[in-house]
């Protein structure tokens, strides 16, 4: 009887686990949320303890967000003004639903809420954000990096949201490998090795010949692939640049030039810290595919040895990662012993990824108060300076502050002056090429590329399927095949 019970408890726990696990599997969603592990633990301990002790019903302001950065901002704001700000954090996946339902039902809370670039269009369309121009936002127009300012505007050019950070993309590379293979570690020079897709392919080959791999995954240049708009005047636009990008990804994969990791997966992170085993396209699933079941025949043993040899060909090191500016923090937390050996250079084009934009709810009854908070977070130089410290290296959007910090040296990146670099990259971003469809269409394009590179589909079939998907997901887009 007793063991029966024990067994059933265990079984149910397994069942319960599978149920709870559904909600908690890593989303792998690479949102622009970009504060870092260490500062979070410290920062939230401080803000968390007082959040628990304060009765939330008398909050002066209610803020909804999807990253915990704003918790730290709110704690700082409370400290400076004595006003109580209640921050409600919802995980990114369901955050847009929650905001849209609440705003459309006419709720007066939240007063302030945030959005990431891909959500903002939808928020603008339902009139969720209050008009910041009416509150005087235009006075600050020249203090914020241009593209960020434009992302925060709706179709009519009215300012709706402002971000405290910029997220331009760059190529993070290993200085020591650069020195060894290319004889230089200067970001300008290394940038030339990534100047266009053909050059990248050559660079990749050179690195492979020297025993390295250029990238861990073949998706590293994704952030730089948006040199043209996906949709122009309601017509799907697949230009030569997109096709070239596709060819590049396929070549990188098929010619064995990457380490075959998937972005945000375990081996990808491992590659940041140095040596990783060389995977080939056949063994990228680890040893799963290895022939271990025919051990009794000589043939089987030979086959096994051959595969094992292929698998243990040795180790390699990965040269570069392509990530937005918040990658500075991601890398810092994972580089381990290669810290200090990294550098950042420009990619083949300008691009950006993520970013948290703060706006005021159109239903808020405390818009003036809310505007004070938004100004505090985004337009206040003291806050920006504090945030650079608190986040340990996030890139802010206030131009005067970026300029003041332009000589800051970042030791993880060999003492490079990152803020001036990011400002330069951000100034090159042309936001007119960004459309609301980018995320979804980009994902479909990525699926097409995967299908081609693994040989699942021919190029023609994959592109046709891509067209089909776009057509059925967005009936309002005209697709000219």
């Amino acid at each position: 009887m007793n063991w029966k019970k024990a067994v059933s408890v265990l079984l149910v726990s397994a069942m319960a686990l599978s149920m709870t696990a559904c909600g908690d599997s890593e989303t792998g969603d690479t949102t622009g949320s970009n504060s870092d592990g260490n500062s979070v633990a410290e920062g939230t301990e401080a803000s968390g303890s007082d959040a628990a002790s304060v009765d939330t019903s008398d909050a002066d302001l209610v803020v909804w967000t999807l990253t915990d950065d704003l918790k730290q901002f709110a704690a700082k704001y409370e400290e400076e003004t004595g006003k109580h700000v209640e921050v409600v954090v919802t995980e990114p996946e369901n955050y847009p639903t929650k905001v849209q339902t609440a705003i459309q039902a006419g709720e007066t809370e939240p007063d302030v809420f945030v959005g990431e670039p891909q959500m903002l269009q939808d928020f603008y369309d339902i009139g969720a954000f209050a008009d910041l121009d009416a509150l005087g936002a235009q006075d600050y127009a020249d203090q914020i990096v241009d593209y960020v300012w434009e992302v925060g505007q709706d179709a009519d050019g009215i300012q709706r949201a402002i971000s405290y950070q910029i997220t331009p993309a760059g190529i993070y590379y290993r200085r020591d490998i650069a020195q060894e293979v290319f004889g230089t570690e200067d970001p300008e020079e290394i940038g030339k090795l990534f100047a266009d897709y053909d050059t990248i392919l050559q660079t990749a080959q050179t690195l492979k010949d020297a025993g390295y791999r250029i990238f861990a995954s073949d998706a590293e240049i994704n952030y730089f692939s948006g040199d043209s708009a996906w949709v122009i005047d309601g017509v799907l636009n697949v230009d030569q640049g997109r096709l070239d990008y596709m060819d590049l990804c396929v070549d990188l994969y098929q010619q064995d030039l990457t380490a075959y990791a998937s972005q945000w997966a375990t081996p990808w992170y491992q590659a940041m810290a140095g040596e990783v085993p060389i995977l080939s396209a056949d063994t990228q699933g680890g040893t799963d595919d290895m022939n271990i079941w025919q051990g009794d025949s000589q043939e089987g043993i030979d086959a096994f040895n051959e595969q094992a040899a292929a698998y243990s060909e040795g180790t390699t090191e990965v040269f570069a990662f392509g990530l937005p500016s918040w990658g500075v923090l991601t890398l810092r937390d994972h580089v381990g012993e290669t810290s200090g050996k990294w550098g950042v250079c420009a990619g083949p084009s300008y691009g950006f990824g993520g970013g948290t934009f703060i706006g005021i709810s159109a239903n808020s009854e405390k818009q003036d108060e809310a505007w004070e908070f938004v100004k505090f977070c985004t337009l206040n130089e003291d806050t920006a300076n504090w945030w650079i410290e608190a986040s340990e290296g996030d890139t802010v959007s206030l131009i005067p502050v970026l300029e003041a910090h332009k000589d800051d040296a970042n030791e993880v990146y060999g003492g490079q002056h990152l803020y001036s670099f990011w400002l330069e990259q951000a100034e090159g971003i042309d936001y007119s090429k960004v459309t609301r469809y980018d995320k979804q269409i980009g994902d479909y394009w990525g699926e097409a590329i995967s299908a081609i590179k693994t040989g699942e589909a021919s190029k023609e079939d994959a592109i046709n399927e891509f067209y089909d998907k776009v057509e059925s997901t967005f009936p309002d887009i005209t697709v000219n095949r």
């Binding site: 686990l17 149920m19 908690d24 979070v40 301990e45 950065d69 459309q104 991601t330």
Partner: protein, 278 residues
């Protein structure tokens, strides 16, 4: 010869079952091991050897929210919702199964049809309804609707028809018992294995319910456990909180185990009781 064949068969069977058992339990073990590891460790390697970061993970959790507050909130939602659901479902099921009246079939069919409509469809409408009734940030919209749970009624109706001989109720009536009295004193005890089963299912469902509380509740101190735990995902570098998430999940499973341990007594005891009778 025969004996050896039997032993081999049995051996294979046992091996298969053990393999299945391990497969079922491995994720559970992995969860407990990962609860002691840091986010960076979890994303960079795979192992079953526990690490030393349980304290840091716990600190991360407490930095985000009060886990026990969340558990208490979840108890406040899940327990009443489960009790209401099984009581009223039993009442409905008993009525539909044992009384003959006009429209009995039609009502049952309606319930069946409602069982087939996915609940998420009405989410936005439900939110608007709650907003108009000023029930946002309240547990009432999470508890009261549990009274009408078509799936439970359906199950219990089949169940009560099979375990309850009508003559038992007739006997009670002859002895002068009122209808509700006989329901409470005779029907419920007989149905208790079915109720326990549905109770466990209902409790797990309510305990893990995420979408509705996430939409309805807006205050940090009202969040139920799953909503709180999801906020660990909401932040930072995606790898940073992985360990804390595993730890939170491991802790949140405990109440479900307790409920099962409590209810399973009824299930097991009455399964054997049924076996002897028939």
């Amino acid at each position: 010869m025969n004996g050896i064949g039997y032993k081999v068969k049995k051996g294979i069977l046992y091996a298969l079952l053990i393999l299945l058992g391990v497969t079922c339990l491995l994720p559970f073990l992995l969860m407990m091991v990962n609860a002691t590891r840091s986010g960076a460790e979890i994303v960079t390697s795979f192992t079953l050897i526990p690490s030393t970061h349980i304290k840091e993970n716990w600190d991360t959790i407490t930095g985000y929210f009060n886990l026990f507050k969340g558990m208490w909130n979840s108890v406040k939602v899940a327990v009443p919702a489960t009790l209401l659901s099984i009581y009223f479902s039993a009442l409905t099921a008993y009525g539909l199964a044992m009384y003959k009246f006009k429209g009995n079939k039609a009502i049952f069919m309606t319930i069946l049809i409602f069982m087939m409509i996915p609940g998420q469809l009405g989410l936005i409408g439900f939110y608007n309804l709650c907003a108009k009734l000023h029930l946002i940030n309240s547990y009432i919209p999470l508890i009261i609707p549990a009274i009408a749970s078509p799936g439970t009624v359906f199950f219990l109706k089949q169940y009560v028809e099979s375990v309850l001989p009508p003559s038992l109720i007739e006997a009670a009536r002859i002895d002068g018992a009122g209808e509700l009295y006989s329901f409470h004193r005779i029907v419920i005890p007989i149905m208790s294995p079915g109720l326990a089963t549905m109770g466990i299912m209902g409790f797990i469902g309510n305990w893990n319910n995420y979408l509705l509380p996430m939409i309805i509740l807006n205050k940090n101190d009202k969040f139920t456990l799953p909503v709180m735990m999801a906020s660990l995902n909401a932040s930072t570098d995606i790898t940073a909180n992985q360990g804390a998430i595993y730890l939170a999940v491991a802790i949140s499973v405990i109440p479900i185990l307790l409920v099962f341990a409590f209810f399973s007594k009824y299930i097991i005891s009455s399964i054997s009781a049924g076996a002897v009778k028939e």
